[in-house]
């Protein structure tokens, strides 16, 4: 007699990876079921990357949605020259970068308006700990350096992966990471000498 447990194991017997090319072809033909499978396989990582770069759950969700909407629309152009995950992360970075530019412009206007009051409050606050200072320093990095640092030092992508996602040479990627780290050291130097030694 077949137990329910065995039946469940059966259902997970076919590995996703070997089915990915077939799923891509089906999505291009308009198959929602295949699209959902691709989404299930990749959405958590896409959301993770979007969240790391935005720091806001709702925004990261919206950008994840936008990434998949754009990816499904453009999937017919995917030639399989890189892994699908690399291609999807490239779309993610593009979507996030566009969104962050708008968000930063919006926040800059808000900061101008609130500058007087917020600065007064800031001076009365106790200093945040070094972790917060580090995170703020990462926030303030120029976008290309921040993206590279987050992908490499925070999310653990390799230089090769980052280079493929960003469409740059590996050397460029290493150079950007080096600059990002140098800027962090410089910004944190006044606060945490012991951290930097």
């Amino acid at each position: 007699m077949t137990s329910p447990a065995v039946a469940v194991e059966i259902s997970e017997a076919t590995p996703y990876v070997s089915r990915e090319p077939e799923l891509i072809a089906r999505v291009v033909a308009g198959d929602r079921l295949a699209a959902r499978e691709l989404y299930d396989a990749h959405a958590p990582r896409v959301f993770r990357l979007a969240f790391r770069l935005t720091g806001e759950s709702e925004l990261a969700r919206e950008l994840t949605q936008e990434t998949f909407i754009r990816a499904f629309a453009q999937l017919g152009r995917f030639r399989g020259e890189s892994a699908l995950s690399t291609w999807l992360h490239r779309v993610t970075i593009s979507v996030v970068s566009n969104a962050m530019r708008k968000v930063k412009r919006f926040r800059a206007r808000e900061t101008d308006l609130d500058e007087a009051t917020s600065m007064a409050v800031e001076t009365r606050r106790a200093d945040p700990d070094l972790r917060d200072k580090l995170h703020r320093a990462i926030d303030e990095l120029p976008e290309i350096y921040r993206t590279t640092l987050v992908m490499h030092d925070v999310e653990g992508y390799t230089h090769e992966e980052i280079a493929n996602v960003l469409g740059v040479a590996e050397g460029t990627c290493k150079s950007r990471l080096s600059v990002a780290r140098a800027q962090l050291r410089e910004k944190l130097a006044p606060f945490a000498k012991e951290w930097l030694e």
Binding site: M1, T2, P4, A5, V6, A7, V8, E9, I10, S11, E12, A13, T14, R19, E22, R26, R32, L33, A35, R36, Y39, D40, A43, P44, F47, R48, F51, R52, L53, T54, G55, S57, A60, R61, T64, Q65, F68, I69, F72, A73, L130, R131, L134, H135, I138, L149, V150, D153, V154, T158, K174, S178, R181, A182, L184, R185, L188, W195, L196, E197
Partner: protein, 223 residues
């Protein structure tokens, strides 16, 4: 990976890993995002008869069926599957399934690209409905089981919108399974003791689980 000379000190590297630490996504988070994606990327779906996603917690089943007759329907459907009405090719011969039978004259036609998915879906659905009575009987309808029901309901609706449902008999089965699974999923939203009691009563009165196990045993013997 090559070690860089300019690596940040350990303390900073550890602290950096907490930068914008993402929350874990739940099934429901993923489903919500998927609904928005699907609506935009595959708009035709929402003109189909298989229900908008927004109604997933208020299934159309409610107006047509009560809990009392849905569970016997589930049993009948599963037994229907078990006695060989579904002629999906068995690509995974070494792995027995409760839901798939060798092709027969009265088999439904499922297009080849969907056969694996459909076979897996039927196996999962059978497994869930077999385990449901004991879960309900013991008063446990835990998140894992109900999460599986939610996933299966989603897959049912996706299959309904795909060429896999082009065969009218298979479409009918999918629609009935949609009703059953929608009722199971609703347990999660309601957490109503009355609902659980009704289900338990219906299952006990009709002796569903032992009958289903007998059918599964018969099929295994046929193989």
């Amino acid at each position: 990976m090559k070690q860089e000379d300019d690596r940040l000190p350990e303390a900073l590297r550890v602290a950096a890993r907490d930068y914008n630490e993402p929350p874990e996504l739940s099934h429901s988070d993923l489903d919500d995002m998927w609904s928005a994606i699907e609506k935009d990327a595959f708009p035709k779906r929402f003109s189909s008869p298989s229900a908008p996603r927004a109604e997933s917690r208020e299934p159309r089943a409610q107006s047509r069926f009560s809990t009392r007759n849905l569970l016997p329907l589930a049993a009948v459907l599963l037994l229907g599957v078990a006695i060989g009405r579904f002629g999906l090719p068995r690509k995974q011969q070494a792995l027995p399934s409760v839901a798939v039978r060798p092709a027969g004259g009265d088999s439904v036609a499922v297009p080849e690209p969907y056969q694996t998915t459909t076979s897996q879906y039927l196996g999962r659905t059978a497994a869930l409905l077999v385990s449901l009575p004991s879960e309900v009987h013991s008063g446990r309808a835990d998140d894992l089981l109900l999460g599986r029901a939610h996933d299966l309901l989603l897959t049912t609706r996706l299959l309904l919108d795909s060429p896999a449902a082009s065969d009218p008999r298979f479409r009918n089965l999918l629609e009935d399974l949609e009703l059953v699974l929608a009722q199971v999923v609703r347990l999660q939203a309601d957490q109503g003791k009355g609902e659980l009691d009704l289900i338990r009563q219906a299952l006990d009165q009709r002796d569903v689980l032992p009958r289903l196990r007998s059918a599964v045993a018969d099929i295994s013997a046929d193989d």
